[in-house]
Symmetry: C2
Subunit: 116 residues, 2 copies
Amino acid sequence: MKQTYCTNHLRSMADTLELLGGKWKLLIMSLLHSESPMRFSEIERAIGGITPRMLSKELKELEQNELVERRVYPTMPVSVDYRLTDYGRSLDTVLTALGDWGRNHRRRIMQPAVAR
Amino acid sequence: MKQTYCTNHLRSMADTLELLGGKWKLLIMSLLHSESPMRFSEIERAIGGITPRMLSKELKELEQNELVERRVYPTMPVSVDYRLTDYGRSLDTVLTALGDWGRNHRRRIMQPAVAR
DNA sequence: CCGGATCCGAAGCGATACTG
DNA sequence: CAGTATCGCTTCGGATCCGG
């Protein structure tokens, strides 16, 4: 059954990567995870380097997968914000783990290789 | 300091994604995490759908980032296997979290949306 | 068996300009 | 403010052939 376990494990992982893959999705999720809700332009500024086109596309996909909720307010001009859904918040463990590892890794690569 | 925290957080995340991004790297890591060492062709078969070219490329990059160790045995013909390094094993939390979430997500998407 | 080298198409991504 | 539309590049990734 080892083989079956591995196969399922890999399929799950592959599905997850399809959802969260790409250059920006995990960044956006991580951002909304630490600060929600955020408006479109806030996210744009916070990430820095992403174009409106990409941000729009990624947010739309995250919304379709029910990880992010989009709310429109009938102000003038219209204002929109984004926040994690309950399901999106279930990624908490993943996002925290990635963030922690990332900070640690960043410390590591900032040091000369000989120190390792 | 909230802004600074967020910026560092995002930078760390971005660095991590650069290391583990792409279509296959996390799959390979996850595979080696649950079963090590593995030979080249074993990984190839287990993943299914990856070409030798890509596998070779991904493994090389993972090796350069010291996440994976490659060992060559002077048999005839030569045999090679791959395993996680200590540093690679430090991704344990991340890989476990991703795997758990992935399995859960897979159960979710296998159900009709009305049940959610 | 374990890859390297080359070629090529697809797609991801960015720059810019524009709209309600 | 919150996006869209168009264009073009660059990278990713697959197919195929080759070599130790």
